[in-house]
């Protein structure tokens, strides 16, 4: 299995419904897919007996602040039979930050999508329990977005409770 075959098969199946093909520096074929097609493309890659991308290896969000579309969900599929990896990318805008879930195809997408939601606020439509996973439930904002600063809490050189809490982030409320 090589990159050209995968791209050829995908273009034969989906035609111009899938976006341009690029290549990652690590050499994997990278296909930009509109979000309406992502489930169909992933399912095709998984169920086609020759391609057999049976394993969802990685799923993560990326925030390209200042670029359109701002967000990107990156999927890496792995074929155990062909020992080959392919990368799918779905661009989504900040205004309409929805993408269909892949939990219907792979249960392993569950935690990975929850993490992408937790860190970037990307909403995976149809996800069975899209909740925060790493951050506390009552956290507001999405910490890995580029417009969120790294942030820190000042080190308190004091033993006095009142002085410490006056410097805490919640003191302004």
């Amino acid at each position: 299995m090589d990159n050209a075959t995968v791209i050829e098969r995908l273009q034969a199946e989906f035609g111009d419904k899938i976006g341009p093909v690029s290549s990652m520096l690590s050499g994997e074929a990278t296909i930009n897919v509109p979000r309406e097609q992502i489930v169909a493309v992933a399912q095709f890659l998984r169920d086609d007996s020759a391609l057999a991308y049976n394993f969802l290896e990685n799923l993560c969000g990326v925030d390209y602040l200042g670029r359109q579309p701002r967000f990107e969900v990156v999927y890496h599929l792995l074929s155990h039979a062909n020992r080959h990896r392919v990368c799918l990318k779905v661009g989504i805008t900040e205004k309409d930050i929805h993408v269909p879930t892949l939990t219907g195809l792979w249960q392993t997408a569950n935690y990975q999508e929850r993490e992408a939601y937790d860190m970037f606020g990307i909403i995976f439509d149809g996800h069975p329990a899209l909740e925060r996973i790493l951050m506390p439930d009552d956290w507001s904002g999405f910490p890995q977005r580029k417009d969120v600063p790294l942030g820190y809490e000042e080190v308190a050189f004091s033993n006095t409770e009142a002085q410490i809490s006056a410097r805490k982030p919640f003191a302004e409320e």
Partner: protein, 414 residues
């Protein structure tokens, strides 16, 4: 919209509610952790029990979240290596390797053979030491105290080797983009050889305590089984996947660091239960000794030599060069003030860590700091299969199950 079978989906902690409110009288909800010695860190489990039988279990993670991925975006590529140590703290060298391989792919840097062989040798030692912690704590969870003492005896010896090469027992940061941080010390090879010589007999010793031990077998055989189809559904990798009969090992199937030139086997089992995961890891330790011996022989044959690439855009020049070469001085200055700049693009590098597939995905915007780093953390993803394995098992077996998955919470939460 694809049909989603919610009975298979991984429950979230909020999905398990008070059974009394739902009118159920036969079950109760028990909170296990996050401060519980058998949860191997700060893992919280919400367990719904019918008597002693687990009806449902939902892992709750995130207590150890320190924003490592976000922090890495604020460090130069070389500085960010130290953050990788702190994810899977039982296998820092594996994390180092996955990260530096991804950056080296971005940069297109070729690493000379000697540092590559040293990397292979050290990550295999790392695998043994990580599996020793797994074995020791797993046995301890099932009340086999003595295995813990034996396991930590050899682990200490391996950590001494790490201290010898990097100055630190655990937070090694020894692999750098371009090669190694510094050269291997003079007494490295004899010390490693002494360890590798005793290791096979020590593994026999652990096995004599457990493999045919009737109590161990009763606690682990047929418990928490998963089949290969479900394992792939839940993204299980590493020894957990191989115990179900899938011979998938990145070292063999998608080799990196020249693993294709080493002679080794990929141990598999067929039942996918706790005992099989135990057998696979024990066999893996023997294979690691085997690979490490081959790497050791190569290092010995090679003799002293380079420990990093000669590409001065990535690796700093030696001090002796700086004193008489203006160009070296400039390289040194640029590397320590600004760092190097990979071209725009993204790269993914996956390795077989002791816990499974550890992949690092890096996006570069052409600047000296990574634009985005994502780690496909095997502990995090393997944990999703826990509810599937635990349903219908006894509460006491849940403890054995967690141990057999070998999660490191630093890596789960990052």
């Amino acid at each position: 919209m694809t049909f989603i079978d919610h009975s298979l989906s991984v429950p979230s902690p909020h999905s398990i509610t008070d059974p009394a409110l739902a009118g159920k009288t036969n079950t109760m909800v028990l909170n296990m952790g996050p401060h519980h010695p058998s949860t191997h860190g700060v893992l919280r489990l919400v367990v719904e029990l019918d008597g002693e039988t687990v009806v449902n279990v939902a892992p709750d993670v995130g207590f150890l979240h320190t924003g490592i991925e976000k922090n890495m975006e604020f460090k130069t590529y070389q500085q960010a290596v130290v953050m990788t140590d702190r994810t899977d703290y039982l296998a820092p060298l594996s994390n180092n390797l996955s990260y530096v391989l991804a950056v080296e792919k971005l940069m297109g840097v070729e690493i000379p053979e000697r540092p590559t062989v040293a990397r292979v040798l050290l990550v295999e030692l790392q695998r043994i030491s990580s599996h020793l912690v797994w074995l020791s704590s797993h046995a301890l969870d099932l009340a086999a105290m003595s295995v813990f003492l034996y396991g930590f005896r050899e682990r200490e010896q391996i950590l001494d080797i790490f201290e010898m090469v990097s100055g630190a027992r655990m937070m090694t940061s020894y692999f750098r983009v371009g090669g190694l941080a510094y050269d291997l010390p003079n007494d490295f090879l004899p010390t490693v050889k002494a360890l590798l010589d005793i290791m096979p007999s020590r593994i026999d010793e652990y096995e004599s305590l457990l493999t045919n031990n009737i109590i161990w077998q009763e606690r682990t055989m047929g418990v928490g089984a998963i089949d290969s189809a479900a394992a792939i559904q839940y993204g299980l990798t590493g020894p957990g996947l191989r115990a179900t009969g899938v011979a998938w090992d990145l070292r063999k199937d998608m080799p990196y660091c020249g693993y294709e030139t080493y002679d080794f086997n990929v141990p598999i089992a067929k039942n996918g239960d706790i005992y099989d995961r135990y057998l696979v890891r024990m066999a893996e330790m023997r294979e690691s000794v085997n690979i490490a011996l081959q790497a050791w022989q190569r290092l010995k044959d090679m003799g002293p030599g380079v420990f990093q690439t000669s590409n001065r855009k990535v690796a700093p020049p030696p001090k002796s060069e700086i004193t008489h070469s203006m160009e070296s001085l400039i390289h040194h200055f640029k590397l320590w003030t600004e760092g190097f700049k990979p071209p725009r693009g993204d790269a993914l590098a996956a390795i077989e860590s002791p816990r499974g597939e550890l992949a690092t995905y890096i996006v570069s915007d052409g600047g000296p700091k990574p634009y985005r780093v994502h780690m496909r953390a095997p502990s995090f993803i393997n944990l999703q299969s826990l509810p599937h394995m635990a349903k219908g098992q006894l509460m006491a077996d849940l403890v054995a199950l967690i141990a057999s998955l070998d999660p490191v919470l630093g890596e789960v939460d990052r």
